[in-house]
């Protein structure tokens, strides 16, 4: 279950009538790899196709925590193995105790608002150091920088065509000899189709039957 960048490169070269490798200078290998990175990241953000558990460590009195490397989103949080309910800062403002940001204890809830991008908060803040905070959310398994020999793990091969379509949409939108408005529109349409398929199979792979 992986996408081989070299295979995407081969089909791109074939489509651009440069079999065997880009040599005409209309598109460089560096541009191609940048498009792969951009499209794969966009595809993963839109479909959340790959999910995983991530961990970080709690600190006494610290409310806010950052996502870890490779983490794209956050769905659920566990503190020391115990599930925390999702909440929002506004409802915590109205808890009877008030002054919540200085409270410490065993966290009961987590929230996304008021904690900045790629971060979340715990209420109350932990009252001890070193406990494990486990996060569940979408993951970007891509290891950068990419090369033609890179493997993008965990994305099923069934989506290779659509990743390629996203890359072709970008190539056909570039100013210069490769620009082709019809193909750009066609490939963007196919890429959107792939995103839609990714989303529906993910809903099956996340929700109870």
């Amino acid at each position: 279950m992986a996408i081989l960048v070299e295979k995407v490169y081969e089909r791109t070269c074939d489509a651009l009538l440069e079999p065997g490798g880009l040599q005409l200078g209309l598109l460089t290998e560096t541009q191609f790899l940048l498009f792969v990175e951009t499209v794969v990241e966009d595809f993963l953000k839109k479909t959340e196709l790959v999910k995983d558990f991530f961990t970080t460590t709690g600190s006494r009195g610290v409310v806010s925590y950052q996502y870890v490397s490779g983490q794209l989103s956050l769905d659920e949080v566990y503190y020391d193995g115990v599930y925390l309910r999702r909440s929002d800062a506004l409802s915590i403002d109205f808890t009877p105790a008030g002054g919540w940001s200085s409270e410490t204890g065993f966290p009961e809830r987590w929230f996304h608002d008021r904690s900045g991008p790629r971060s979340f908060g715990l209420y109350p803040a932990p009252d001890e150091d070193g406990k494990t905070i486990t996060m569940f959310g979408a993951k970007n398994p891509m290891v950068k920088p990419l090369s033609l020999l890179s493997t993008i793990a965990e994305i099923p091969e069934s989506f290779t065509f659509y990743i390629w379509a996203g890359i072709m949409a970008k190539i056909r939108s570039m100013d210069g000899e490769l620009k082709d408005d019809f193909q750009a529109s066609y490939f963007m349409n196919r890429y959107t189709e792939g995103v839609n398929i990714g989303r529906v199979v993910m809903s099956e792979a996340l929700l109870a039957g």
């Binding site: 279950m1 089909r11 074939d14 489509a15 009538l17 079999p19 959340e48 196709l49 790959v50 999910k51 995983d52 558990f53 769905d75 659920e76 566990y78 193995g81 115990v82 599930y83 309910r85 486990t134 569940f136 965990e154 099923p156 091969e157 069934s158 290779t160 065509f161 072709m168 082709d180 019809f182 193909q183 529109s185 066609y186 349409n189 959107t192 189709e193 839609n196 398929i197 989303r199 529906v200 199979v201 993910m202 099956e204 792979a205 996340l206 929700l207 109870a208 039957g209």
Partner: protein
């Protein structure tokens, strides 16, 4: 009736006016494989079962879906079906589920939780290990690309695969040939057919608007 790769290659090449020089066999195979993969993801055509390699591990709740499965649909523990639940429901019901095992609860493994395409959890975790865990699901197709390979499709799907593979190959031609194949093969035939076959309720294929410039008289 079995459809072999050689059959389909021939049919596609005929539609490409037997242009052997322009279309490599590997390109045709890639277009066939892509088309089968897409058809499968949209229609749920291929389904199969695989055991987790190494069986259950003592105390382990989260497992990797076998790589041959594209979407896990059901999980069996020692051939007994597990009840499917989602992560939030299990977590709300059992806030400490990640630490619970068959030994701590004195209960059998009874539920499974899909965690995306690549992972799933069982609850409670098996305290002993060594039990079989089977995953049923939508299969990720694999191919040998040999001429005598029997393709994993039904005869009624051959036309859809052939049409889509032909259409995607014409990208290389560009211009009017690709435009024609988009309008006539992709939009009028393929899109409608695949929508009639899809198992998902959502609209998957956005309508492709094509602006055709009028030719000068």
């Amino acid at each position: 009736m079995d459809i072999t790769r050689a059959d389909l290659r021939d049919r596609i090449l005929q539609r490409l006016e037997n242009n052997y020089g322009f279309y490599e066999e590997a390109e045709i195979d890639r277009a066939i494989n892509d088309s089968i993969r897409i058809l499968n993801a949209v229609t749920g055509l291929l389904q199969s079962s695989y055991n987790i390699s190494g069986n259950s591990v003592a105390g382990q709740a989260v497992y990797t879906v076998p790589s041959a499965i594209l979407v896990p649909l059901a999980v069996y523990f020692d051939n007994e079906p597990l009840s499917k639940t989602d992560l939030r429901s299990l977590s709300l019901d059992r806030p400490e589920w990640r630490m619970e095992t068959t030994a701590t609860l004195g209960a059998q493994v009874s539920r499974w939780v899909p965690l995306g395409l690549n992972r799933f959890a069982i609850w409670p975790a098996d305290a002993v290990g060594g039990h079989t865990i089977r995953v049923d699901g939508l299969q990720e197709p694999s191919f040998t690309d040999l001429a005598d390979e029997v393709l994993p499709i039904h005869a009624e799907h051959a036309e859809v695969i052939e049409g889509h593979a032909f259409h995607t190959l014409t990208v290389k031609e560009g211009g009017k040939i690709f435009l024609d194949s988009t309008l006539k093969v992709f939009r009028q035939q393929y899109r409608q057919k695949i929508q009639s076959l899809q198992i998902w309720a959502d609209e998957l294929m956005p309508y492709l608007r094509v602006q055709v410039k009028a030719e000068k008289a």
